[in-house]
């Protein structure tokens, strides 16, 4: 599917501004952006619920079909699970017997066997959302549009459903345009990620590109990348001019790549040539446990850094003075 210079206005406000995007067959494209950036509007525009003010949508095979799944399941309360799933077939005029058969067969892929005669209020949240997905998927859409479909579910259920949908997608081969604000969700499924701000696509890339080379400080901030500082600040810490192109004037480093060091291990060991590094000192302001160990907030002069440690055996003490080693090669550089 190709979007060509698509603009959508609602009450004279431009929500989507001449946005162009291509989604390849079988691809999962994740769209991320802050609230009010136009993600839902774009999906509704593609699905035909909102009309495009200008621009056009085209498909490789001429005409394409879409299915849209909302954040809430929006099941028809007076219809059974089977009737909900078969609704699209009913609209297409498929005979009752045939559509019941098709929907019945589809229940297995949805892991909803034996629930076909239940009504939506008799299902759990996860089951309801699976019915909602099934209702869209039974029509074999070329592109499935997902508007934060699992956002209202708890974490473990969300993870289960994501991996279930991922496997289903890889098996059936449809494309997905997936809106989410969960970074972990995006990383676990995306072939490509697009970042949208104020109705404009700011950056498109595969997950590692987006994280390693954010196009701007705005994107880096949206992705909550830690330890983002100006080139000037990094040069202060390294006490030298850094060999970087002029355009790359900011850098970030993952909290796992900052190493807390003891006094004696400061010197390069065994004569092995290490890359360019800097050691800065600071003291611990905040200690937050996480799955691997602790996330420490370190104050160094006027700057605050985030450092992760591994293991829980040694509990860092507040106000403790520490030294951190920063390897130049671990810093990702980007433009303001």
């Amino acid at each position: 599917m190709h979007l060509d210079q698509v603009t959508i206005k609602i009450h004279q406000d431009s929500i989507i501004n001449s946005l162009s995007l291509s989604i390849h067959p079988g691809e999962i494209f994740v769209l991320m952006g802050p609230s009010g950036s136009g993600k839902t509007t774009l999906l509704k525009g593609i699905a035909g619920l909102l009309s495009l003010t200008s621009g056009r949508i085209s498909w490789e095979n001429g005409i394409g079909t879409t299915g849209l799944v909302f954040q809430e399941p929006r099941l028809f309360p007076h219809l059974t699970v089977l009737e909900n799933i078969a609704f699209g077939l009913r609209v297409q005029g498929v005979a009752t017997k045939e559509r019941r058969l098709q929907a019945g067969n589809f229940l297995k892929s949805l892991q909803l066997e034996n629930l076909g005669n239940r009504y939506p209020h008799q299902l759990s949240g996860g089951q309801q959302q699976r019915v909602s997905l099934g209702r869209a998927l039974i029509l074999n859409p070329d592109l499935l549009l997902l508007d934060e479909p699992f956002a209202s579910l708890d974490t473990s259920l969300r993870e289960d459903l994501i991996s279930w949908l991922y496997q289903l997608q890889r098996r059936l081969g449809f494309s997905i345009l997936w809106v989410t604000h969960y970074i972990d969700e995006a990383l676990s499924i995306a072939d490509r990620i697009g970042i949208i701000f104020e109705g404009k696509l700011q950056q498109i890339g595969n997950p590692s590109e987006i994280f390693q080379q954010p196009d701007s400080e705005k994107i880096a901030h949206f992705l909550s990348l830690p330890n983002r500082f100006s080139k000037q600040q990094w040069q202060n810490w390294f006490q030298r001019d850094l060999p970087l192109p002029q355009t790359l004037n900011r850098g970030w480093i993952d909290s796992n790549h900052l190493q807390i060091i003891d006094e004696e291990s400061q010197l390069p060991s065994n004569g092995i040539k290490e890359g360019l590094y800097s050691i800065i000192s600071g003291f611990i302001m905040k200690v937050k446990p996480n799955r691997e160990g602790y996330t420490l907030t370190i104050q160094s002069n006027s700057e605050t850094l985030e450092v992760s440690t591994i293991g829980w055996s040694k509990v860092p003490a507040l106000q403790e003075s520490i030294k951190i080693k920063i390897m130049f090669e671990h810093i990702y550089w980007y433009s303001e």
């Binding site: 699905a47 619920l49 849209l68 929006r74 099941l75 609704f87």
Partner: protein
Amino acid sequence: MVKKPLEITLIGILTLFILLPFIPLVIWSFTKHWPWPLLMPENWTIESWTYLFSISGRAFEGILNSFIVAAIALLGNIVLGIPAARALAQNEFIGKNIVFSILLAPLFIPYTISIIGMHDFALRLDFLNDYVSTAIAHILVTLPYFVATIWFQYRLMGKKLNEAASILGANEWKIFLWIEFPLLVPSFLLGSFLVLVVSYSQYLPTWIMSGGTLLTLPLVIFPYANSGNSSIVSAYSLLFFAPILLLLIIYFLLLRINNRKNTNESR
């Protein structure tokens, strides 16, 4: 536990309050003479009831006419009221409150003014069949009840299910038929019940629109109410109440069937 006896007592008092007026009506309808201070009449008769269903009593004619007019009025309400309620609940447009106020106007415009307006209207619509012209007047009177009931349900439903159905390919008509209407049924039943009952009780609009020639039940009863013949008036009053009771029973039965269908648990 303290609450229950109190509740039962209150419900008992309320039931008595509603039922008490019917007791003298029933007694009066079976006697010609029941002077004070007799607790019960001395002579019983079914004369009033036989008169009611005789040719000059015109009870059947009254019921039939009332039924025909109410049915046409209900049809008019369905055709006009559902689209109006839908538009008012689902769309935002300039002057929406004004349109809504006009639709509800018959509820709060003084009755005399409506009747005078209706009289003029009746002269202009003289070419119409009496049933139709009377039903038009009844539609004006009953539409606010119907629109308000349906509008409320539409507001509760919102547009989310419509969007979901639309994405699955359904056009407006299929959305209405397969999604909206089944969900509207409870309020549709209530609205229809109100329309039938209100239409059924109209006296002046019927009289004006038909020039007094279309004898619906209230028009049949009125002369007797003026005559002071308590026995016949009582019999007519009870007869007047019977269809309403019947409608109420039908309403609750249909509502129950609908609710059972929607909460039917699979085994």
